[in-house]
Symmetry: C2
Subunit: 452 residues, 2 copies
């Protein structure tokens, strides 16, 4: 019996046109990140299991793919390794491990797959690529501004014009919850409810807060504040108005004041970086991961319910590996989400749909295979990308193959032309077929490729 042939649940195969689209997006993102001075890093897909456990919260731990011990230990059923869950924890490990080799500010980008045993859904897979860009070693808000500018440039270069970067701060969020009268132990629970504000509205969140044991008074104060904030949105000067109201609500809360000051500075620097029109202060943005300590960001477009990317400052994570804190801030773009939206909107260049082949050399008969191989070689030496049909099938079949792969030129080594030192070449786009001297073939194809 033949084996199952589908990929594993939540994983995907990428056929050539898919790979070309993925590589196109990755190339643009890399070029933009490099234009900001970021350098590439790669880490193994597999990490020691203790590197990952305890970094992503309880839910995260559940979603980590764990690898069985090998050999005689296999029967123990224990795991000692695990698949990478994000690119941030490996970066923190790398910064700790190579601290003496890395520059004081390590500006790295990393575009690699991560694995999560999540329930698959539209745009959510169990293997997916993150495109991360991080700066370690600096507490300057210039970092936040440049990260937002780099992510924004990358999306603009891909053709996006309608995204917005929501911006918030973990410490203002904490201050708001405290000011509303919610005790520290209830903060995480309250944030889970609050995160649904856009989806289920004020009344929905109020019900959920009550269910989570938060007093009506605190819930009322909290939701009142956010209703006020949402009334400030949509105005040209919304960010500054929101910041003013935030500052007022927070009062003298120390962390909150620091958060407000940092948000203010990010907005100022973002203006210098040309990205301020993309930024939208959103005081109830929470973001799931537990390691954030300062500014947090998330990118959205209208036609996708999830985010295209997000990030934030995490000044304590590297310290979990190094023993002393190193400040850090990063941004991650989700390759799959970007591709979903670009595909639905038809944003990919059409040439990605066809094979990157300039010409097909056909086989006239069994006796001329060597000659066809030699001609293909000669054309490649002149810089052309040339496929060779491997069998002496009927010519019609060979032409059909070229058409199906979108190959623009088909070369035929017929016996009549051969006698005259010529070959026949057909332009598949115009249907025109002509005889060309063999030594002029490469140039003839190149010219037609350019002038079409």
């Amino acid at each position: 019996m033949a084996s199952r042939t589908q990929p594993a649940r939540g994983m995907r195969d990428f056929l050539p046109a898919d790979v070309r689209r993925r590589e196109y997006v990755i190339r643009v993102i890399k070029e933009v990140y490099e234009s900001y001075g970021f350098e590439p890093l790669e880490t193994p897909a597999v990490e020691n299991i203790e590197t990952l456990l305890g970094k992503y919260g309880e839910e995260g731990n559940q979603l980590i793919f764990k690898i069985l011990k090998r050999g005689e230990h296999e029967r123990s059923g224990e795991a000692d390794l695990a698949l990478r869950y994000d690119l941030t924890v490996p970066l923190a490990r790398v910064v700790a491990e190579y601290q003496n080799q890395l520059p004081p500010f390590f500006k790295r980008y990393q575009i690699q797959p991560v694995w999560r045993a999540d329930r698959p859904a539209r745009g959510r897979f169990r293997e997916f690529y993150q495109c991360d860009v991080d700066v370690t070693g600096s507490r300057s808000m210039a970092v936040e501004a440049e990260l937002c500018a780099a992510a924004s440039d990358a999306l603009e270069r891909l053709g996006f014009s309608d995204f917005r970067i929501r911006l918030n701060h973990r410490q203002t969020l904490t201050a708001i919850l405290e000011r509303a009268g919610i005790s520290v132990e209830q903060h995480e629970s309250a944030l889970v409810a609050l995160d649904k504000l856009d989806k289920i509205g004020v009344e929905g969140v109020a019900r959920e807060l009550a269910a989570r044991g938060i007093s009506d008074e605190a819930a009322h104060r909290l939701l009142g504040f956010f209703e006020e904030i949402s009334g400030l949105r949509g105005d040209e000067r919304a960010n500054h108005a929101i910041l003013a109201r935030l500052s007022e609500f927070i009062g003298e809360h120390e962390g909150g004041k620091r958060g407000v000051a940092e948000l203010q500075q990010i907005l100022c620097y973002a203006e210098a970086s040309g990205v301020s029109s993309r930024l939208e202060l959103d005081p109830n943005l929470a973001r799931g991961l537990s390691y954030y300590t300062g500014a947090i960001m998330e990118i959205n477009v209208p036609d996708l319910s999830g985010s295209l990317g997000g990030g934030g400052r995490y000044d304590n994570l590297i310290g979990m590996f190094l023993g002393r804190d190193v400040p850090a801030c990063g941004f991650s773009l989700g390759l799959e989400r970007i591709i979903v939206v670009m595909s639905e909107r038809g944003m990919f260049p059409p040439e990605l749909d066809r094979a990157s082949v300039d010409a097909l050399v056909t086989i006239w008969d069994e006796a001329s295979v060597a000659e066809a191989l030699a001609l293909a070689r000669a054309l490649r030496q002149r810089g052309l990308r040339v496929d060779l049909y491997p069998e002496a099938h009927k010519l019609g079949k060979q032409f059909k193959y070229a058409a199906a792969r979108g190959i623009p030129f088909v070369v035929v080594l017929g016996p009549d032309e051969k006698e005259r030192g010529e070959v026949s070449v057909k332009d598949m786009r115009t249907g025109e077929q002509r005889a060309v001297r063999r030594e002029a073939l490469a140039e003839a194809i190149k010219e037609s490729l350019v002038t079409f």
Copy 2:
């Protein structure tokens, strides 16, 4: 206590200069493969465990990394998924799954990591990249010739000039063993011994054959033949002399005769493809994997005991997934091995050692951060790759950072220059520093980059 920071055993982190070297090799290999008409494929790192088990022999099964079931099943200690062990079995699965979408001849390349729980050694890691190129759907020996030519072109483009491609055929190997009088059940065992001929010599192999229960008479006949063959080597016409002797030894053995005829055809086509001078018939080349059915190839250089790559024909593997056989042949280059040799020989372009950054914009003081951000942005908009120093440290420290990263230009926004609408720019390669009008800065840097 801080966590462990090394990567998992046998796995590696790639810092920026490492990644640039890896990407350089991958780019060259891709360009060459595409010039032969191959298209990219990507498959998931994780496969259903039954896709992999039973495809790589008993030893292979042991080396597969297995992934624990998740959630409530985790405690069962069972594995349902596994990490990709090579790129050939996933290709076979893909050809079976998408048979109606793929062209009749699927020419694909795939450059992705694979994982094997092998004992780590020099050039042998537990995570490593394979650069595979395969053609499915054709039995023509033109495929073998083009695959050898493509692998050879890739290595030449990387600067290798001293490699040789050893060539053999599974069916001639079988015929030789039979002719020597070794029973079919002992073939696999005999091949393991024979594989060590180059390392332990004729006497060593004789001892090992005896230990494996192969009769002295058979061993004598077998080794006598290989001694004769090795006497034929080193001559210009060696391949044809070896083929003649092989044909004679094999006699009327049906599979053996077919093998000889195919080898003959490969040598003829390889001449047309310009790769025949690289090919060396090696009648005792065996290759480990059990799925090969026809020609087998292996690439070696003098200064590496393992191979740089290898491949062969496997006409039955796809049938294990599809239920009907589809012929296939492929070649795999080992990225890590190539990089080991290139590093030791100093074959990498020196510019890969430094960051791909054209200029660093420094920070004069806290008050001018926004101005520096705006200048960095303006330079990037003119096509330059620009890093921004994130802190208002002493200028000397900022220059040192630029020097350590190999950044060629450093821009300083000093107050005197600012008053005149200028900035100061230092060429780190010459030490020359000059004032430039702000609007002319991008062009000035670009010119210096080109003319240096």
